[in-house]
């Protein structure tokens, strides 16, 4: 049965004459499908003095086109139960949604218009500006977000695109003009920066043909690329953000690591799984949650990108336990960096990651995200079938070398947001 993905994916891929890439995969999960339109238009491409512009554009892009009002767009989507999600990261801006298979053509028609002919009406810009400022203010009251943003800046510096806050700051958002939005849109939204993926209850050939029809007439000059600047080596700085009324302190602790295309990627992925993912949260959770009962959540996350991504440890603890928790994180980081993983940890982790590949492909949205990653990094249409072999090729020595190259408490940066006066001694 072609629509079952039990034996692996079998996507159809086309490159249109204007450079747009189209990928379609049929599934039999339900009579619905996920559409994902990713443009290389993320925050990396913002002017240096326009922090948050890409994020803001994502909030205004679906609020009017040359031929459709904001209400008409809302009608086209809302009436079908469709919620358009726009996510903006360092490199990509992705518009995605799920719709009934029967609504595919109508929804694609709206999305195609939105990405090609967004008009950015002034009244919509003003509404969404106040909304984004409100969200930034809300974030300022969130210890988890405060700690994460502060760590990002400690690791990459203010000037690096990976170090800047994706949503911008109130003062930058206040300055955005319609011309800024039009310039970013014209500069980055072009067929050559688009990967369009459709996954779900429509035959792949039919889905690809519909996407082709929606975009093949689009002509725009291919924008240039922008390199990721070199990442400074972080200096091991640790800071506290005082939020006196909060019952719990949030810790963000981490390092800069490697890029996604580094040959050591799979070893780093396994190392991070051992440190802070396996089971409840790897070695970190075993120590800080299970043995010491200090935290409900503690884990590590590894987010490699075109440039060296961060490896970040997160935990929420009682303000009186901050120093103890930091000492425990330091100890686990040092132990894995110095002594490496055990044979059992290595075997279990490899088996787990290989076994989890079908779960990555459990939903249409999961498959679309998997295919977007594969396309962005040029991993190939057979990546889901090759992934197990790539993981099997990693050795314990590779994992230990990855740990030794990153995990040194002396170079870890940390940001703690919570009541500063209550921090206990280690």
């Amino acid at each position: 049965m072609t629509s079952s993905v039990a034996g692996g994916l079998s996507p159809v891929r086309q490159v249109l004459s204007n450079g747009a890439v189209v990928v379609a995969q049929e599934t039999a999960f339900s009579p619905a499908l996920t559409i994902s339109l990713a443009f290389r238009a993320g925050s990396l491409y913002e002017p240096a003095d326009r922090e948050g512009l890409a994020w803001f554009l994502g909030r205004v892009i679906d609020r009017g086109t040359a031929t459709r009002s904001a209400d008409a767009i809302a009608d086209g989507l809302d009436d079908r139960g469709v919620a358009l999600k726009v996510s903006t990261n360092r490199h990509l801006m992705t518009l995605s949604c799920t719709c009934l298979s029967e609504d595919f053509a109508d929804v694609l028609d709206v999305l195609g218009d939105v990405v090609r002919a967004a008009a950015f009406p002034p009244s919509e810009i003003e509404k969404r500006r106040v909304e984004l400022i409100s969200v930034i203010r809300q974030d300022e009251d969130n210890p988890g977000i405060r700690a994460a943003l502060a760590l990002q800046t400690l690791l990459y510096g203010d000037a690096h695109p990976y170090g800047r806050p994706a949503k911008g700051r109130v003062e930058t958002v206040e300055r955005f003009t319609r011309e800024d939005l039009l310039a970013h849109h014209a500069g980055r939204f072009a067929p050559s920066t688009l990967t369009a993926i459709v996954v779900g209850g429509v035959p792949a050939g039919e889905a690809a043909a519909r996407v082709q029809a929606a975009f093949e007439g689009w002509r725009a000059s291919p924008p240039g690329e922008r390199d990721v600047p070199p990442v400074p080596r972080a200096a091991g700085t640790r800071i506290t953000i005082d939020m006196p009324d909060k019952p719990q302190s949030d810790i963000a602790y981490g390092f800069t690591s490697i890029g996604r295309m580094d040959p050591a990627y799979y070893a780093h992925w396994m190392m991070n799984t051992i440190l802070g993912q396996f089971g409840l949260g790897g070695r970190l959770a075993e120590n800080i949650r299970e043995r010491q009962g200090m935290a409900y959540y503690v884990y590590s996350a590894f987010d490699p990108s075109v440039g060296p991504g961060p490896l970040v440890v997160r935990a929420g603890v009682d303000p009186g336990n901050v120093e103890r928790a930091l000492a425990a994180i330091d100890a686990e980081v040092a132990a894995l960096g110095r002594d490496g993983a055990t044979v059992r940890e290595f075997d279990e982790t490899r088996q787990y990651l290989i076994g989890s590949i079908p779960r990555m492909l459990e939903t249409n949205a999961g498959i679309a995200a998997f295919l977007q990653t594969a396309e962005f990094f040029g991993l190939g249409l057979d990546y889901d079938r090759r992934l197990a072999g790539l993981l099997r090729a990693v050795t314990l020595e590779d994992v230990n070398a990855a740990a030794a190259s990153v995990l040194d408490p002396a170079r870890a940066c940390a940001a703690v947001a919570g009541p500063a006066s209550l921090r206990g001694d280690a």
Binding site: A83, S134, D141, D250, R291, M294, V317, D318
Partner: protein, 429 residues
């Protein structure tokens, strides 16, 4: 897609199986008809704490091996507790079926509840509570819920009150576990790339020899009718003001439930009915009544409605985040006017038709994986009984604009609501 196969073991364990051969996965959920609505004063939070303890080792799966047993099959595992139910799940490669049934059988009968593990988990749960209190909206939600109920145990938070979390003992936990974790109080749900006969054989092998136990007797106090508006205001450090309205909602089996679901979709956008997945992420709400009146007009940065199917009447709530620079009073006045408008005039035919189309789509979206299908089967079996889920789409379709207007008029009244306000200290009300 096959139908759900239903079987009962001799000890009363109900087994629901659905074969879905779209992915090489199996999802196993074990549901217990016990939740925080079954707790007594002084032991609030015991259901949730017991859930945590049931990941801390059994007679035949030492704690150290709990971690890793599902992962060997590439699987994920979790659990949750709410007012009517406690549930545990694993989704893994289909070859894991026998191991997953073994884990759930162990969890039902062989939990260790080592005293040191109980103590360690006490502080983990207090950390979970404090983490949620970092969020002003969550804090407000807890206070509004506690104010809205006088007698019914839905009033206390599922995680429990802090003093109870500090004082409960290992024996409290273990006694509760032994009372409620019995086959006659549970439903086992298996969905995925499996053979139903194999599942039944496995269920018999792992659960068949257990004693039935007594089903939980629910003795929940009835909530007296509210006779006047209640208000709660929290003032503390913060950057953002929040406003919340809560009314007493119909239970899942009340004839008002589906008209109310359509009403909520018209006011705030359709969520669907899957609390495991559908309540996350963006909603189709740009044409919704309250979004248009409050977000589009610059008074709120976010609006959310919540109507969840429950065994007994819980709450319908509308949560608003004030736009930067907008006072709570201005926001409340505008929200109040819109609610009065829907109370007196209901929704238009166009709005009702849109809400029903949205719900029809969301009911498809929320059944997009073996994990979600299994959740929905177990959830509705536990809170509403058999056959409920099969009828959901038809019952949404059959809702009329007159029914929506009727529930709005009867249920969104000022005297039966609770209003919560979170006022950032130092900012003008």
């Amino acid at each position: 897609m096959g139908k759900v196969r239903t079987a009962h073991l001799d000890n009363g364990l109900k087994v629901l199986i659905k074969e879905l051969h779209t992915s090489p996965l199996v999802s196993v959920w074990c549901w217990y008809r016990v939740g925080s609505g079954d707790e007594l004063p002084g032991q609030t939070g015991v259901s949730h704490w017991v859930e945590h303890m049931n990941f801390k080792g059994t007679v035949n799966i030492p704690r150290d091996e709990m971690k890793g047993i599902v992962e060997k099959f590439g699987g994920t595992w979790n659990g949750y507790t709410w007012i009517d139910q406690t549930t545990y799940l694993e989704t893994a490669g289909k070859d894991a079926l026998d191991t997953l049934l073994f884990i759930e059988a162990e969890r039902m009968t062989n939990g260790l509840y080592e005293p040191a593990e109980c103590e360690s988990e006490r502080t983990v749960i207090i950390s979970e509570l404090h983490g949620s209190e970092n969020d002003p909206d969550q804090l407000l939600d807890t206070e509004v819920t506690a104010s809205a109920f006088r007698a019914h145990p839905y009033r206390h938070p599922t995680i429990g009150w802090i003093d109870d979390l500090r004082s409960m003992t290992r024996d409290d936990l273990y006694g509760y576990y032994r009372r409620h974790y019995v086959p006659s109080n549970a439903t086992l749900v298996v969905v995925g790339d499996v053979d139903a006969d194999d599942v039944l054989r496995g269920a018999g092998k792992h659960f068949g020899s257990m004693a039935a136990g007594a089903p939980s007797a629910r003795a929940r106090a009835a909530e007296p009718r509210q006779v006047g508006e209640r208000r709660v205001t929290i003032e503390r450090e913060g950057t953002t003001a929040y406003l919340k309205f809560a009314w007493h909602a119909p239970s899942a089996t009340d004839p008002d439930f589906f008209p109310m679901l359509v009403l909520d979709a018209g006011l705030t956008g359709a969520k669907g009915l899957n609390i495991w997945s559908s309540f996350r992420g963006a909603l189709p709400q740009r044409r919704a009544r309250l979004y248009d009146a409050l977000v589009e007009r610059g008074l709120a940065s976010a609006v959310a409605g919540s109507l969840v199917p429950t065994k007994e009447p819980f709450l319908y709530s509308v949560s608003l985040t004030a736009m930067d620079g907008v006072s709570l009073s201005a926001l409340e006045e505008a929200a109040d006017a819109e609610i009065a408008r829907v109370r007196t005039g209901g929704l238009t035919d166009v709005e009702v038709a849109r809400a029903k189309r949205q719900l029809r789509a969301r009911l498809v979206f929320e059944n997009d994986s073996v994990t979600n299908v299994a959740h929905q089967i177990g959830y509705f079996e536990t809170i509403a009984g058999p056959d409920y889920l099969d009828a959901v789409a038809d019952r949404v379709r059959d809702v009329t604009a007159a029914q929506v207007a009727d529930v709005a008029a009867r249920r969104l009244t000022s005297e039966t609501r609770t209003v919560g306000r979170f006022q950032p200290a130092g900012r003008r009300a």
